[in-house]
């Protein structure tokens, strides 16, 4: 290794290290806040007496676990329904020709274009009328706007990468359609399905506008509930930091899990190419 190469390596890694500090510092700061008492919150930065009182407050003296449960139910429900309905839809978009196919596909994608705040007020009116306001079903339904387009578009791409002759070959081999789907197609779309489903889960988990306006009394996902720590008179930054840190955990875990599944090119070598 020449001196020049070594210098480049040092500069590159140094640059990356600076960027990592820049990107992770807010998270680190939030993590530090969780161990501070309210008194020390704004006075010191790194030197303080660590305390677990914030954790105690959040986990044992508030409804935090209920909020997490609500978040979990609506996010999982939303992803499940998106997968159950989205995968067949993606298959149809990939394999069949029907009138206005691309228009409909684009229409579905366009659900993601509008800012949530633009549609949430009319939805609020409708939800009140239909009795969907402040229900699990209502939130799961509206979360389809977030998750369904993503799943359909990602999985469609995976289906299109699979040569249709592979399905034909399986038919000729003697498999019924449902076995072709589960044994032949599903393993091939798995990377796309898993990663898009995890992404959808994260998006649904992080969603704030919809649950803020369409729920919030009986059902309180953590994103909305976290604002409760900003009380009228006092602001419990420490408790809020605990709530935020813990509710970010699923997102972080899933984000790391996705990386493992983002393996493309599994269908490589199936057909002449």
């Amino acid at each position: 290794m020449t001196a020049r190469k070594r210098l480049t390596a040092i500069l590159q890694n140094g640059g990356l290290a600076i960027y990592a500090v820049f990107a992770l510092f807010p998270l680190l700061w939030m993590f530090i806040l969780t161990f501070k008492s309210d008194a020390e919150m704004l006075t010191t930065t790194f030197v303080f007496t660590p305390t677990l009182v914030n954790y105690q407050q959040v986990f044992f003296h508030s409804d935090y676990l209920r909020y997490i449960k609500d978040s979990f139910i609506v996010s999982t429900g939303a992803v499940l329904i998106s997968v159950l309905a989205g995968v067949p839809a993606a298959y149809a978009f990939a394999r069949y020709n029907f009138k206005k196919k691309e228009t409909i596909a684009f229409q579905i994608l366009s659900f993601k274009f509008a800012p949530e705040i633009l549609v949430v007020l009319p939805l609020y009116m409708l939800y009140r009328q239909m009795g969907l306001y402040d229900t699990y079903l209502g939130l799961i339904w509206v979360y389809q706007l977030i998750s369904m387009p993503l799943i359909i578009w990602v999985v469609r791409g995976y289906f299109e990468d699979i040569s249709v002759e592979i399905e034909h070959a399986a038919q000729v081999d003697g498999y019924p359609w449902w076995q072709i789907f589960f044994k032949v197609l599903l393993p091939l779309i798995k990377p796309g399905l898993v990663s898009s489903a995890l992404l959808c889960f994260i998006f649904a988990w992080n969603s704030f506008t919809f649950p803020l306006l369409l729920a919030g009394i009986k059902i309180e996902p953590i994103t909305v509930a976290a604002t409760k720590y900003l009380a009228q008179s006092t602001v419990h930054y420490g408790q809020m930091a605990v709530a935020a840190t813990c509710s970010a955990l699923p997102s972080i875990i899933f984000a790391i899990a996705i990386q493992k599944h983002l393996v493309r090119g599994l269908s490589f070598g199936a057909v002449k190419g």
Binding site: H168, A170, D173, L266, F268, G269, K272
Partner: protein, 396 residues
């Protein structure tokens, strides 16, 4: 073990008609080749027999039973796809074993192991069983696809250009193996190719297809010596047949042929009553005379009655060469030995072995007749009898 029939089968894709009223009858245990240019509808016929596509009109019968409404899994056909269609996430072993693990053809794992090993050995891929398709060359993938079809005992093998991606040596070897295998298995096979050598050497019978229509069905000799029209004549044979556009002039009892490129050298057609009587029915007596390159003779010295042209090109193709002579605007391909020393544009004198020609109508391009047609017919009937007795033997 099945007889396959297609009756008035029509298949459309949107506005495009892929198959036009196709009628085919493929005998039990026959090796039947579908031959035609790209886009002719060969693969569509296979897909319809397999049940992957369903004809818009007409019926398909397997063993006399109409199968239009039966799905591919229940037709008991094995198919080799042109693009292999292997399962990318499964090893070669699991790919070949796949039909035997399906609910329809379920076998126990011991049986599967034996069958897969046998098929893999046959295809010379037994050392590749643990690999994934992505770790194979195209030729190896193609053999895996063949293995997957051969591992079970279907009504019919459908093979879509299964040798197209093998190297020349392996292709020749596999061609022989396939023929041998088909003979031993005694299973009806339908084989798609656009390679005329493959078609000629493998087929019990050949169907020529163009633009979704069956042009001609027959044994290879029949199609080679008595092509139904110019298209078939051009397709069968390499180098391609020469077509000379001629005016025929009646003189006394016979005809003189005036080739448009050399009208000063009239060629007297030898007497053939059957051929002459058919020519007489033509109104304008304009014909295209088809003559195979091996029946044209050349000389570099002037010869009595020869037509003068110039050397246009000289290509060596293996153990022989193709000399193309230019006479005015027309090109004539001639088989010549290798190693001729010649210059482009040097004069060459060509004569035709006129008693070997095939005569086509210049307007419709249909077959009119050829010399010694009765002799050819006799030969064809003998060969046809042979291939039928062979099928008959297998019955026993």
């Amino acid at each position: 073990m099945a007889k396959i029939e297609l009756i008035n089968v029509t298949k459309r894709f949107g506005k495009l008609t892929a198959l036009k009223n196709v009628n085919l009858e493929i005998e039990d245990k026959e090796f039947f080749v579908l031959f035609g240019p790209a886009g002719a509808g060969k693969t569509t016929i296979l897909n319809n027999i397999a049940g992957i596509q369903i004809p818009d009109e007409g019926v398909i019968k397997i063993n006399g039973e109409i199968v239009n409404q039966i799905d591919p899994a229940n037709r008991n056909v094995a198919m080799v796809f042109e693009n292999y269609a292997l399962y990318p996430n499964r090893t070669v072993y699991d790919n070949i074993a796949s039909p035997l693990r399906s609910p329809k053809h379920k076998k126990d794992e011991n049986y599967i192991k034996g069958a897969v090993t046998k098929a893999a050995a046959l295809m010379k891929i037994d050392m590749l069983l643990d690999r994934l398709p992505s770790q194979l060359s195209n030729g190896q993938r193609q053999r895996v696809a063949l293995g997957r079809a051969l591992v079970r005992d279907p009504n019919v093998f459908l093979m879509d250009e299964p040798l197209a991606h093998l190297d020349a040596k392996l292709r020749n070897l596999m061609r022989g193996e396939l023929k041998e295998m088909q003979h031993n298995f005694a299973t009806t096979s339908i084989y798609v190719t656009h390679d005329f050598m493959e078609a000629m050497s493998l087929a019990d019978r050949i169907a020529i297809i163009d633009e979704g229509e069956i042009i001609q069905v027959g044994i290879s000799e029949e199609i080679y010596y008595m092509p139904k029209n110019q298209f078939v004549a051009q397709l069968m044979g390499d180098p391609e047949i020469n077509l000379l556009s001629c005016d025929l002039v009646e003189n006394g009892t016979g005809f003189t042929c005036l080739w448009a490129a050399a009208p000063d050298n009239p060629i007297q057609l030898p007497e053939d009553e059957e051929l002459f009587s058919r020519i007489r029915t033509l109104e304008n007596k304009k014909v295209n005379v088809g003559i195979r390159p091996q029946n044209v003779h050349y000389s570099f010295e002037p010869v009595e009655g020869a037509i003068e042209g110039t050397v246009y090109s000289f290509e060596t193709i293996g153990n022989k060469s193709v000399l193309t002579a230019q006479v005015k605007d027309a090109h004539v391909r001639i088989i010549a030995p290798n190693g001729l020393v010649l210059k482009l544009d040097q004069p060459v004198y060509i004569t035709f072995d006129i008693s070997r020609v095939i005569v086509f109508d210049a307007d419709t391009h249909e077959y009119i007749g050829r010399y010694d047609e009765s002799e050819v017919m006799k030969l064809v009937n003998e060969h046809r009898g042979e291939s039928f007795t062979r099928a008959g033997e297998n019955h026993g």
